[in-house]
Symmetry: C2
Subunit: 344 residues, 2 copies
DNA sequence: CTGAAAGCGCTAACAG
DNA sequence: CTGTTAGCGCTTTCAG
């Protein structure tokens, strides 16, 4: 039993055009007719078919969002912010969790395009080469679908990214200032390579040399378990190290676990710094020193940018790039507070 | 520059009907024409418009999912499972985070209906009365949209729920068996009331009496912060208690924090048990004793049920109710392992 | 096997 | 102010 604009029109004793008018609050409809139409709508519990609307209006009022994983607080909180922000603006969110896999990204993007989303928010930590991205971009251009990315830099698109080189440099530099010289790094392909670069950068600017043996790249996802494993490998390598900088907080949590199982306590025996400043970072024991990404700002800007590009001709668009500063948040795991106490 | 089935037909030198046929792999199309059509499709990078399709096929290949919050691992992991499961089946997920608010639930549901999702997965911990739910159900019935719920029990719908009375009873009973008599409960309206009932049930079956002063109901969301506050209130009340059962793990984490700040260590001075067995429960210090919800099974069943009801006439449907057993997972925070060691 | 034509439910001119 | 009508892009009879 389908209920369409036709049934409403019939019940209200008007034409479908009139019903459409009261639905869209456009051309003034005589109050009395409007009332009877509205009454019919409520009586029938009529919900206009968005798909039919879309065919004409060319807008689905939905945005597609691609995230690499849903098991990392960072992405989930971002998702949450974006979703709420969009809802306020009358949009709903279609989501795709891509597991950091390029094929899934493309597959989801295609399905988004088929659904004719109004825009795509593309979050990823995979490093993109221009060639590899051309599919996605070509597709979205083809269908005039604006896209805004978080972290991947695509010349033709609006992009937002954190200054991870700066963030990672600050984190590593902080460790160096604490007197550490043997600092390891735990990261990998699923973590922005910028963080490793920042780590190296801090060494360079301090005239120090990186011990390549202290760099552990995890193969799979940047999970707790993989952080744990990476730290174990480092421990077993026999190399000497007194501090560890981890590509993200979850990795740092796993790392701390491995360290403590090994009998080392953080930060007394070894300093650990994470990245992201996920909600649980401050709750962890020890409270994690980490690099804060301005999540709220990022989420809002993402939505702002996508909304901004909606009306416009995508081919005329001058791609904007917005970069966010990262902020080192010193807590317990790096041992800085410990040192300060000693000095006092 | 929009590219439609028309352009493809033109390029391939056939009618749009033929293009449609190769798209839907139906009536055999002569291999040679099929090839040229397929070539045209690729050349133009044609993505058929799902909205137009939907108007005829009556299926959007998308499912809407309502969750109360995205900042609790429980719902996020469930979301992740559901999303992946659906993707395998060729469906995409529209999400709505309702903040435990009834109006948002209805508003999202309406927007889902307008988009003509094929089905709705409705997760909530809000207690529903038949009257309050009638809107939502009436709406979905009206538009033949199947709905399956997680935890709310709606007579006319397929429902899945955990046996939270059993789970909470087991948890509390375990504490009682450890010798605890002064056991508090931290919960509230945004946590299934079943958990409080299970808590009470354990007291009854053990011929003990609940001290109502030890029940703390949080007003807002069941967050870390609110768990912390509830525990503080309990601490300040001056009431005596040696164990605390928390309505969910996040609440338990906050509780532990408050307890430790107060100078009590868990589990030596006080036992704490949570609920859900969220991923970080085992990583927490102390590792949290909690009640495990079979998340994987729940997610899968949710998808299974919604898929199951897709073809069928919703009005003929005999609502299924599936109940899942909860499982107590004993770790460190309840002190059981501690006692065992002492006894040895 | 393939094309022509009739809609799906709605909006947007265009008349009245 | 309101009704008629022509599509939106696609699928689906119904003929050839």
């Amino acid at each position: 039993m389908k209920i369409t604009i036709k049934e409403v029109a019939q019940l209200a004793g008007v034409s479908i055009a009139t019903v459409s008018r009261v639905l869209n609050e456009k051309n003034k409809v005589k109050p009395s007719t409007r009332d009877s139409v509205q009454q019919a709508i409520e009586q029938l519990n009529f919900q206009p078919d968005q798909n039919a609307r879309t065919m004409i209006k060319k807008s689905t009022k939905t945005i597609g969002m691609l995230v690499p994983e849903l098991t990392n607080e960072f992405w989930v909180f971002l998702l949450d912010i974006v979703q709420k922000e969009l809802w306020e603006l009358g949009y709903t969110l279609l989501i795709g969790s891509t597991d950091h896999q390029r094929e899934k990204e493309i597959a989801f993007a295609k399905s988004f395009i088929e659904k004719r989303v109004d825009g795509i928010i593309y979050g990823s930590s995979v490093i993109e080469t221009a060639k590899e991205m051309s599919d996605l971009i070509a597709l979205t251009k083809r269908y005039d679908i604006p896209i805004v990315t978080l972290d991947p830099r695509i010349p033709q698109a609006n992009c937002i990214f954190g200054d991870h080189i700066q963030g990672a440099t600050d984190a590593t530099d902080h460790l160096i200032r604490q007197g550490h010289r043997h600092i390891g790094y735990i990261g990998g392909p699923s973590v922005s390579a910028k963080r490793e670069l920042g780590y190296r950068n801090a060494f360079m600017t301090n005239d120090l040399i990186v011990n390549e043996a202290l760099i552990q790249r995890i193969e799979g996802l940047p999970t707790f378990e993989n952080g744990y494993e990476a730290a174990r490998r480092l421990l077993e390598s026999g190399e000497r190290f007194t501090a560890l900088f981890c590509g993200n907080d979850v990795l740092a949590f796993g790392t701390i676990k491995a360290l403590e199982e090994h009998g080392w306590s953080v930060p007394q025996d070894i300093a650990v710094v994470g990245y992201d400043d996920v909600h649980s970072a401050r709750l962890w024991k020890p409270a994690l020193t980490t690099v804060r990404q301005p999540l709220q700002d990022i989420g809002r800007t993402l939505v702002e940018m996508i909304m901004d590009s909606l009306g416009k001709d995508i081919h005329e668009l001058v791609p904007k790039k917005i970069i966010f500063q990262m902020q080192l948040v010193v807590r317990d795991s790096c041992g800085a507070s410990l040192r300060n106490e000693e000095q006092q």
